[in-house]
């Protein structure tokens, strides 16, 4: 229904008023049909699967390493004093800027893309862990200490759960950076994946394909955000009474 209305608007603008150029603006129906066709040929399924695989691997690497660095920063003050502004600066560096660097290190292969994904999201995860822990209400730490919590137990039972709402926000941000890294990496490096289909569409001047893939990327991002991070966030906020 929505597509029909959009198509009508599209037809009016391209064929009757003629203010839109059909080579630049794709027809909604053709985009829709193309998405179905891409699914039928299984090309899209494979592309999504291979993209997702990279994304998950790259993201997990960045979560693990990022958390470790974050904890180290909290634990050893001099790391923080010396590197926090560097990390803040690196976080603002766009993912795309890492692609040439990564190609020189790893060549045109899978590792390059995973590296771009990981490096793109790691800094926001480090910063989230760092600030999440720093912003833990000191009263919780005091209370925990008077109840005999020390060292590793203090971390696992108090500091991490208390910092979790902030850490989750950082993980979410990291995820969105990972997505960007994935697409930029794939567009420049890969022979498979969503970014590559996007890139092929551009090469063939096929605006419908470009828009179709963009829509798919968008909806995948939305679905993951809503069903994975949205759920985790909601359950935490519910417990804390932040809703």
């Amino acid at each position: 229904m929505l597509i029909a209305i959009l198509e009508l608007v599209y037809k009016i603008n391209t064929e009757i008023i003629k203010i839109w150029n059909a080579n630049i603006i794709p027809s909604p129906i053709s985009v829709f049909i193309l998405i179905i066709r891409l699914f039928e040929t299984k090309m899209l399924i494979y592309a999504i699967l291979s993209s997702m695989r990279r994304l998950v691997i790259g993201y997990l690497i960045s979560v693990v390493i990022g958390s470790i660095i974050g904890f180290l920063m909290i634990h050893f003050k001099y790391i923080e004093e010396n590197f926090s502004s560097l990390i803040l600066g690196l976080q603002t560096l766009p993912n795309l800027a890492w692609v040439p660097f990564s190609i020189l290190w790893f060549g045109y292969n899978e590792s390059t893309i995973i590296f771009v994904i990981a490096i793109g999201s790691i800094f926001s995860i480090i910063l989230a862990v760092d600030s999440g822990i720093k912003n833990v209400n000191p009263i919780y730490l005091k209370a925990a200490k008077t109840m005999g919590a020390k060292g590793y137990k203090l971390y696992s039972n108090v500091i991490i759960p208390a910092a979790l709402p902030n850490i989750i926000a950082g993980l979410k941000e990291g995820w969105s950076f990972a997505w960007r890294g994935l697409i930029s990496g794939e567009m420049l490096v890969s022979a498979t994946g969503l970014g590559q289909i996007l890139s092929k569409g551009k090469d063939a001047s096929n605006i419908s394909q470009v828009v179709a893939v963009m829509l798919i990327i968008l909806s995948l991002g939305l679905v993951i955000d809503k069903f994975v991070f949205g759920r985790i966030e909601k359950s935490i906020r519910c417990r804390w009474g932040l809703m």
Partner: protein, 282 residues
């Protein structure tokens, strides 16, 4: 009769260094018996909370030492449980998990933990809410949970830092009665900080009045009244009056420091007002 349990010896505390250092506690000495309920009262800024934190091991004294049951205390530890002014309960845990926390840290088994936690929850009448999260409770309920949590680690001393000051007066009254009952049941040694003299008289065996700037022990009052005590009883009132007189000077000192120099406490207006001259016609 003499059963010294908690010894606070020559405690001084100053914030900041060099000549500008601000002396908060000046040579405070206090001897507390086992099972005694001691209230520290004093105007704001007399360092009573700081003293409590030092006893708890959450702050360190500039000099002096705390001796509990024969050994000097250094860090925070489970021999001294603390109930804080604001709810320091963990929002990511349910009520019962909060109460179990200290036992969990001590490595006590799950069933045993649960059984004991339920006992303490029963003591504060909150068994119905054992699976609630903290934000679902009212202020009074939260402080009850905090009390249960502190009792559950079975410490030698219970330190309470203005635990009821954020509650409305009805809730506070109920909790004061409850605390009296729990104290009589458990015979804990309690050090309770408050700025509310009435609360101190209702609860304590001994009220320690502190002076301000720097904080010192000004005077101690033994409260020899039967329990449970009610805040409205005339006996309580008598002690409140006595302590109030002692404190007035201190309160004035604080006010003078905070307000403009020409400020002074109003004189007692009672007899200078003609309409209320009750001696007339006798």
């Amino acid at each position: 009769m003499f059963n010294l349990f908690l010894i606070i010896q020559n405690i001084s505390k100053s914030f900041g260094f060099n000549s500008k250092a601000n002396l908060v506690l000046d040579n405070v000495n206090l001897l507390i018996d086992k099972g005694e309920f001691v209230c520290l009262v004093g105007p704001s800024g007399c360092g009573k909370s700081t003293l409590l934190n030092i006893i708890a091991g959450l702050e360190s004294a500039s000099c002096g030492r705390i001796i509990l049951n024969g050994s000097a205390v250094r860090d925070a530890g489970i021999d001294r449980a603390v109930v804080f002014q604001e709810s320091a309960l963990f929002p990511w845990l349910t009520v019962i998990d909060n109460v179990e926390f200290g036992m969990k840290m001590a490595g006590i088994k799950k069933e045993e933990r649960k059984r004991r936690a339920m006992e303490y929850l029963k003591m504060v009448h909150l068994t119905k809410f054992k699976d609630s999260y903290i934000h679902q409770l009212s202020g009074g309920m939260r402080q009850r949970v905090a009390l249960a949590r502190a009792l559950a680690i079975d410490s030698q001393v219970l330190l309470m830092d203005e635990p009821f000051s954020a509650l409305d007066s009805q809730t506070r009254g109920i909790l004061q009665l409850e605390l009296q009952r729990i104290w009589m049941e458990t015979k804990k040694t309690i050090v309770f900080v408050t700025h509310n003299i009435e609360e101190a008289v209702v609860l304590a065996d001994r009220v320690v009045v502190m002076s301000t700037n720097p904080g010192r022990v000004k005077k101690e009052f033994k409260i020899e009244l039967s329990r449970p005590r009610k805040p409205e009883s005339p006996d309580v009132n008598y002690y409140v009056r006595k302590i109030m007189d002692e404190l007035r000077e201190e309160v004035e000192k604080v006010a003078k420091a905070e307000y403009d120099g020409d400020w002074s406490v109003e004189k007692d207006l009672f007899l200078s007002n003609v309409d209320s001259n009750i001696g007339i016609g006798l």
